[in-house]
């Protein structure tokens, strides 16, 4: 999120409750920052596209791997090697497989970074005092002010839910 209210919670449970409550209150643009994945939060989110992208990459990579071998040994420089056929399909399988794996894992990794908006060094939330505990033992939740259900009172609501503190992230010009 770019701007809005962020609140710090001491425990997973308190975060989960807050999240549930806000969701029930109709908030759709909620973000959490947690040291480890929180089941209840992830459950409410739509599925990721990464696996499908990786599948496509695998198919393309594998196909390319096979075609390269075929082109090299059967088309570009056909040459009698030990009386074997020029297009020795069985011998081309290992590389086909490996290139499929290579392609899909490379693509997968970088797509992951992309989807996570990484790599990046600076992020508005990093400017929030105490946020550095978010990777350790604190649980943060954020309400985007572009959320249709957004109201300024949300910070009070969060406080009631047991937020240790609430901070506002101002929109940058």
């Amino acid at each position: 999120m770019r701007s809005g209210i962020v609140a710090e919670f001491p425990t997973v449970e308190s975060l989960e409750n807050a999240y549930e409550a806000l969701a029930r209150a109709g908030y759709t643009r909620l973000t959490t920052w947690t040291p480890f994945p929180v089941r209840k939060v992830l459950k409410r989110m739509p599925e990721s596209m990464v696996p499908w992208i990786m599948l496509a990459a695998a198919l393309i990579g594998g196909g390319a791997g096979y075609l390269i071998q075929w082109w090299c040994n059967a088309r570009s420089f056909p040459i009698n090697v030990g009386g074997r056929p020029l297009h020795s399909a069985p011998a081309f399988i290992p590389i086909t497989f490996e290139s499929a794996v290579l392609a899909s894992s490379l693509v997968g990794f970088f797509v992951l970074l992309g989807f996570c908006g990484m790599p990046r060094l600076h992020h508005p939330v990093f400017e929030i005092a105490g946020f550095e505990r978010a990777m350790i033992d604190r649980f943060w939740i954020g309400v985007d002010d572009t959320d249709p259900a957004y109201v300024d009172q949300v910070s009070e609501q969060l406080a009631e839910m047991g937020a240790l503190r609430c901070e506002r992230i101002a929109r940058r010009p």
Binding site: F77, I79, N80, V81, G82, G83, R84, P85
Partner: protein
């Protein structure tokens, strides 16, 4: 020197194959083209020219065709027109090329330690020796007509003795002839007409020094076309295992001293002229042999070896006469060697004369007498006692050190000469290259200098002899003809008719004693250093001995029994002692040696530092007294320590695998198709025959192959095969593309061994090819298994997957840091391989491709036999046949149809192009038990 820089154009520095490759990313170095100033008409760059010349081995002539690339002799092949060669050359004759380029060759004339001029030497030679003393000239036995002239003229000088010496003389044979015929004659054998051959310690198949014609003729009776063909039978009586012995059908291993009595027994049975018959351990063997001989009157042949005493030769002559062989399988003629048999003023005479104090100047022309002289003579001390001594030699060797003056000897490829073959056929030896050693001289020039003709060139000396000789035609024509053909027209000296005088023979027969000695030492000249003449020759030193497969050493050869009685085993150091003198040598246990016999090859154990020969093997001359080639008062004993022998083969058993197929003749006749199943094409899914017009293939007839190893040297020289030295061989990194495998075949009698030339089999479905990750070894359209050095990255997977292990790897940089002179010996048509590259036999693809280009240029087909691989070309017995197997009319196709043909490791389905003809042995059924 234009000659050197021209090499650039000639790709001589192909050694930089890798560099060129590595520099693919940078610009190659700027090269130069250095044309002739005035190109000789006969020279066409890149097109090799053949010149006929002749080499002198032990005084006899061997016809040579030298391949010359822009004036560099790069390969020696046999001259087909020459009676001793018939196109083949042995190991030493081919290896002799090294001597020309040997970087350790003596470079200059010197007096003591100081350089001197030819004039200084000539002064010494021309003027009478100081103090009115005599001059003694020591030459090697020679048949060179122009040299003989000079000797006669030099002798006209009252103050000059001329004597002859070689450690390998034929005096026994000459004396034997005297005994039998009353005069010196040499037998001329015709094995091609002999059904039964008896060799009395005669290694006539050993490729070194003997006329290749003998092996060829013998093999002509061994190559049987089919089960109904006939083949000769070879009996061998010998103390040590020789090449001839291992090719024998029936073999009797007895001590050298016993050969006499075996011969005597044969005489006693074949021609019992009052000679008493004795009981002997070999009575049964001799009986069968005698009956076999008698059953083939006029078609048998008895030959005696130079190692045997005169009586044995006499008996051989007697037997041949009694068997009616004279005129059929053997004829007699005077020896071409000048003064053959005259021992009167040999080296002993020299010693005596020095002791008598009447020698003022010694002139040694050729040889290395100080090294090779009898051990009890101490010639070195005697020579040092002389006021002056001049030595003409190829290297700064033992003799050179003893003599006060030294003159480098001209190699026969850089000087003029002439020589007679064993049958008297004369050849004029022409130089192929300008002398690489400026001051080099020939023995003839030394003699000429003694006649105050110091300026005479070797050419002048040879020419003037032949101008005076009755040639029957105008000289220019004669000279040209003689040079073109490599032989002087008119052929050899005619055979003469003689009768054996039986008296001495019968007396000898009765006198011969059977009893063996506790230990007997047998000296012999092997096919490598040949008594020491080629001790500096790395090609030959690295060549594995055909029988022991040891390279870079000689060893004390003895059989198991003898070894046990010495309490030593292979690799142990033994001390061989005779009359107080002793040498240490590595023992090598070799089957087929006679009990009690220890054989030691001559010519090893040199001590001059920084030479190829340094510390290689042990010096047999240090033991050898007088001139006998054997002595029976040997006292061997185990010494401390071991001696690593560099062997190229460590395992003799075939482990019951179908590698060398062999069968007895009678068994073969019963089952002619015994090889067929090993020649079947396994079922395969793949397209086998490549599309090319020609399909090259090779057959090797194991019946004809004697294992002489001439082909190995041919391959080495033709294909720039590097030398890796003793350590390299010991580590298992020998580079020979073609090797002669040798296996024990106990169930066979005779040699009880089989040999097999093993080279790239050029498999149709080559296992090496499909494992190469970079296409560096692939199949050509004409069926060759190609090896592309410049593509090879050296993973060595191909070698692992080669069932025949014929691939060789450049573990180090063997070529680029070679001395320049050795690079001159390189064949410019073959890439010089770089470090880290795999290499192997290519069927001499350079010859194939050049012939293709030539014939296509002339728009004509390639004739059968027009392409000869190097090994095939030099094979004395014609065992190797190469050609187009797609064309059914070629010789190789005919061989492929022979019922004996088979594939090694056929069950692997590699479908080798190189196929073998099974070995058939012909033992005497009467001796079966």
């Amino acid at each position: 020197m234009a000659d050197v820089s021209r090499r650039v154009v000639l790709r001589l520095f192909g050694a930089s194959a890798a560099v060129a490759g590595a520099e693919a990313c940078s610009r190659g170095p700027q090269e130069y083209i250095v044309p002739y100033v005035n190109q000789p008409p006969e020279v066409t760059p890149s097109v090799a020219t053949l010149y006929a010349t002749a080499m002198t081995v032990d005084g006899y002539g061997m016809g040579v065709l030298a391949t010359s690339h822009e004036g560099r002799p790069t390969k020696l092949e046999g001259n087909p027109e020459h009676p001793a060669s018939l196109g083949a050359l042995g190991t030493i004759e081919q290896g002799s090329l090294w001597g020309l380029y040997d970087p350790k060759r003596a470079q200059g004339i010197r007096h003591g330690e100081n350089p001197a001029t030819w004039n200084a030497i000539a002064d010494v030679l021309a003027r009478p020796a100081a103090g009115g003393k005599k001059t003694f000239v020591l030459l090697e036995p020679t048949s060179a007509p122009h040299l003989v002239d000079l000797v006669r003229r030099v002798r006209a000088r009252s103050d000059v003795f001329v004597g002859f010496h070689t450690p390998l003389d034929r005096r026994n044979a000459w004396e034997g002839a005297k005994l039998a015929f009353g005069r010196v004659l040499e037998p001329r054998w015709d094995f091609s007409r002999a059904d039964v051959v008896l060799s009395l310690d005669a290694d006539f198949l050993g490729a070194a020094g003997t006329p290749q014609a003998w092996a060829r003729a013998w093999a002509s009776r061994r190559r049987i076309a089919g089960p109904n063909g006939a083949m000769s039978r070879l009996y061998v009586v010998e103390p040590r295992m020789s090449i001839t012995g291992s090719s024998a059908d029936e073999r009797l291993a007895v001590q050298s001293r016993q050969v006499t009595s075996v011969a005597a027994d044969v005489v006693a049975q074949v021609a019992p002229r009052g000679a008493a018959r004795r009981e002997s351990p070999w009575a049964r063997w001799v009986g069968a042999l005698a009956r076999d001989l008698a059953a083939h009157p006029g078609a048998s042949l008895v030959v005696a070896g130079d190692g045997q005493p005169p009586v044995v030769h006499a008996m051989a002559h007697a037997l041949n006469e009694a068997l009616g062989n004279v005129g059929h399988t053997v004829t007699y003629a005077p020896s071409p060697i000048f003064e053959a048999g005259e021992g009167s003023h040999g080296i002993e005479a020299l010693a005596a004369a020095i002791d008598a104090g009447d020698i003022g100047l010694l002139v040694v022309a050729g040889g290395n007498p100080v090294y090779a002289a009898p051990a009890d003579m101490d010639l070195e001390k005697r020579i040092r006692s002389l006021p002056a001594s001049v030595y003409l030699g190829s290297h700064e060797n033992e003799t050179a050190r003893a003599c006060s003056y030294f003159v480098p000897e001209a190699h026969y490829l850089e000087s003029w000469g002439d020589v007679l073959a064993f049958d008297g056929t004369a050849s004029i030896a022409q130089p192929i290259i300008r002398p690489l050693v400026a001051d080099a001289r020939t023995p003839a020039q030394m003699l000429a200098a003694m006649l105050s003709r110091r300026e005479a060139t070797s050419h002048a000396l040879v020419e003037e002899h032949w101008q005076s000789a009755p040639t029957g035609q105008d000289f220019a024509t004669f000279w040209r003809e003689a040079l073109v053909h490599g032989i002087v027209p008119g052929g050899g000296t005619p055979a003469i008719d003689v009768r054996v005088s039986w008296g001495p023979v019968t007396r000898a027969v009765t006198a011969a004693s059977v009893s063996p000695a506790p230990f007997e030492i047998v000296y012999f000249a092997d096919g490598k250093v040949h008594g020491g003449r080629f001790a500096e020759n790395e090609w030959l030193q690295e060549l594995p001995d055909p029988v022991t497969r040891i390279s870079w050493d000689n060893a004390a050869l003895a059989n198991d029994t003898t070894a046990r009685s010495i309490a030593a085993n292979t690799g142990d150091v033994v001390r061989l002692e005779i009359g107080g003198r002793s040498v240490v040598a590595p023992l090598f246990v070799l089957d087929g040696m006679a009990d009690g016999v220890v054989a030691l090859a001559l010519g090893y154990g040199h001590e001059i530092p920084d030479r190829a020969s340094t510390g290689v093997g042990s010096n047999a001359y240090a033991l050898r007294r007088a001139k006998a080639l054997w002595a029976d008062d040997l006292q061997p004993s185990a010494a401390s320590g071991t001696w690593e022998l560099a062997r190229v083969q460590e395992h003799e058993s075939m482990e019951g695998r179908p590698i060398v197929l062999h069968k007895r003749l009678d068994a073969y006749r019963k089952d002619p198709g015994f090889a067929r199943e090993l020649n079947e094409t396994p079922v395969t899914l793949y397209e086998l025959q490549p599309p090319g017009e020609h399909q090259w293939g090779m057959t090797i007839d194991l019946n004809a192959c004697t294992g002489c190893s001439a082909c190995v040297v041919a391959c080495t020289v033709e294909n720039n095969v590097p030398v890796v030295g003793k350590t390299g061989v010991a580590l298992g990194r020998v580079m020979h593309w073609l090797r002669i495998d040798r296996y024990a075949a106990g169930e066979m009698r005779g040699g009880a061994t089989v040999v097999q030339p093993m080279l790239c089999q050029h498999c149709e479905k080559a296992p090496c090819e499909y494992v190469c990750p970079v296409n560096a070894t692939v199949h050509s359209a004409d069926g060759l298994n190609e090896m592309i050095y410049n593509r090879c990255v050296g993973t060595r997977f191909c070698s692992n997957n080669c069932p025949y292990k014929v691939r060789r790897f450049n573990y180090f940089q063997y070529n680029r840091d070679k001395p320049a002179s050795l690079r001159l010996a390189m064949n410019p048509d073959v890439t010089v391989r770089d470090r880290g590259v795999m290499e192997k036999c290519t069927y001499c693809v350079q010859r194939i491709r050049q012939t293709e280009i030539r014939t296509r240029r002339d728009q004509r087909p390639i004739r059968d036999g027009e392409i000869q691989t190097a090994c095939q070309q030099t094979c004395p017995t014609g065992a190797i046949v190469f050609g187009d197997i797609a064309d059914k009319t070629t010789r190789v196709s005919a061989q492929m149809a022979n019922p004996r043909v088979y594939q090694v490791l056929q069950d692997l389905g590699t479908l080798p192009r190189t196929r073998y003809l099974a070995r058939i042995v012909n033992p005497n059924p009467e001796l079966d038990t």
